[in-house]
Symmetry: C2
Subunit: 331 residues, 2 copies
């Protein structure tokens, strides 16, 4: 018997514990090409909130009454698949549970790349969030040496990668995070200026002070007042990579933008993107990030919630800013 979190109810606004239910599920015997994986680390990510709604999107919604999915790192405990042996560590998408049977033929499981980092790093800085930050910054926003980059949720899994990649590539970085502890940590990653959005100062005012010469790039993880502030101070031909809008995942309130008309006068480009568009370039990402890791330019942080039973707490914590670095569940 495995145990898996099921979607019991579609949330209205911020999810609550009763929206989730941990239930036993029977796993089948292995067919050819399949592996049985004992999960060690489970990922919770803001985008999962969208999958709880029954709307067409870039990832299909979770099904009501069915197990949820998500990124996971686990150990192969039984294999009927070529290239996978008992004891191998793999990453796959059958998270939100302690054990899974995964079809390797469809490419749904990969052995971890040969980089000298703890396994769970492949759910964070060296996984989907890292890939998001890396290509979002360098490709979607086209950020280059000398640019001034503003990053919201800079203490998060994606944001902290953006900060460090930007610094490694010779950019000036202004980050935003909630609270002194997070701001101090992001400063220790190399950020030139930090905005504490919980300090009471409006973000737009704080950003105008932190960026007297404007910003060239905005990496948006939150939307709302951060996006508006970025519009207010954007330089000519500024590029915004829109990665997430955590502020509005749980609300039906519209976003209010006072500085939107600056899109015209400053010729701003706002570009939304999805990390899966860059999966094919993962090798390039591992190569570059691997070099930065070895040179000590990359630091990693994670917030660990222990036990599958507490996974909804970990997930809900994303929306109240409980994580520094990647939020993980240790099974």
């Amino acid at each position: 018997m495995a145990r898996a979190w099921h979607l019991e109810r579609r949330p209205n606004g911020m999810p609550v514990h009763d929206d989730f239910a941990l239930k036993d599920i029977a796993l089948p015997d292995l067919a050819d090409g399949q592996i049985r994986v004992a999960n060690r680390w489970l990922s919770v990510d803001p985008y999962m909130r969208g999958r709880m709604n029954d709307v067409k999107s870039y990832v299909p919604p979770f099904q009501l009454g069915e197990p949820m999915q998500g990124g996971a790192i686990g150990e192969v405990v039984e294999s009927k698949a070529d290239g996978f042996a008992k004891g191998d560590l793999v990453q796959h998408m059958e998270g939100w549970r302690d054990e899974a049977v995964v079809d390797t033929a469809t490419g749904m499981a990969q052995k971890l790349p040969p980089l000298d980092v703890p396994a769970q790093a492949f759910l964070g800085q060296l996984g989907m969030p890292g890939l998001t930050g890396y290509f979002g910054l360098l490709e979607v926003a086209g950020a280059k040496k000398g640019d001034t980059v503003f990053v919201s949720a800079a203490a998060g899994a994606v944001g902290s990668t953006v900060v460090q990649v930007a610094k490694a590539k010779g950019m000036t970085v202004i980050g935003s995070a909630g609270g002194k502890e997070k701001c101090d940590w992001v400063r220790s990653l190399g950020a030139d200026h930090m905005i504490d959005y919980k300090s009471g100062t409006p973000v737009v005012k704080a950003l105008m002070e932190a960026a007297p010469d404007g910003i060239d790039v905005y990496f948006d993880n939150v939307g709302g007042d951060h996006l508006d502030a970025a519009l207010a101070v954007a330089n000519q031909h500024a590029r915004f990579a829109i990665c997430g809008m955590i502020d509005i995942y749980n609300t039906s309130e519209p976003t209010e933008l006072r500085y939107l008309p600056r899109v015209i006068g400053a010729r701003i480009r706002i570009q939304g993107f999805i990390v899966s568009d860059y999966l094919a370039r993962a090798e390039e990402f591992y190569r570059d990030m691997g070099t930065m890791l070895q040179s000590g330019q990359l630091k990693r942080e994670e917030t660990v919630v222990e036990g599958l039973d507490n996974m909804p707490d970990a997930f809900l914590g994303l929306f109240s800013g409980k994580n520094m670095g990647k939020m993980l569940v240790k099974v």
Copy 2:
């Protein structure tokens, strides 16, 4: 003595007549390289509202107590400039007045291109608004054959150019305009579907019905609910060219966007632009538009207000939708 409209007061919100004053001004004798121009046609454009505010923007603000500027077509009545003879028709930027002395050495006056259209067309479809629509559609939005294009303010000078260029290039066009007369006219230009935003139906609902297969391109002249509607129905990799936000030129209210998160899932690109970026490509524009004119693919409409005295009425009419096609003042 010439007469020129001066900015008497900076408006707060929608301008009123007392913000403008028509005053006599003394014009100097001509220096070498200068021409004296009797203006025949004056342009009023939405962007001029921005110049009435004292804020740094892509065009400098009008100065308080000084004459205003803007596009104009006039006849040379005296010349001390090579290449300009008495009787020549020229376009220049010393509008909002009946007579002007213009420095030709700085390129501030051009003789009208040799196209078989009435002179005032060079303030509209074959002038700045036309150039805006043409490059905004084809370059900024990268619209191509087969795309479905949504155009707001489709009965305006810019919008009606976008509609016709899009149809000439094999696109499907959905336009929005206020009132049956305008909608009928834009339909006569070739628009496949028209939305009457004054009908009481929310724009987002009307657009969802008009574009069951979504839109690939949005050409934005108004912002606000039209922009939000476009976000709601945008297809994957849709491109928005943001040209104007007439809805908010006269208000300090923020724009409310409910569908902004779709930027991410649909990988939308929103790009602001300024027509002057494309002035260097005017010849290409005249060539292509000239061909379309000769083949009868381009129709032109103008709303004419008679007399310099009535110019503020013409300008204010832009914001209450009084114009069909280009709004002009005939001196």
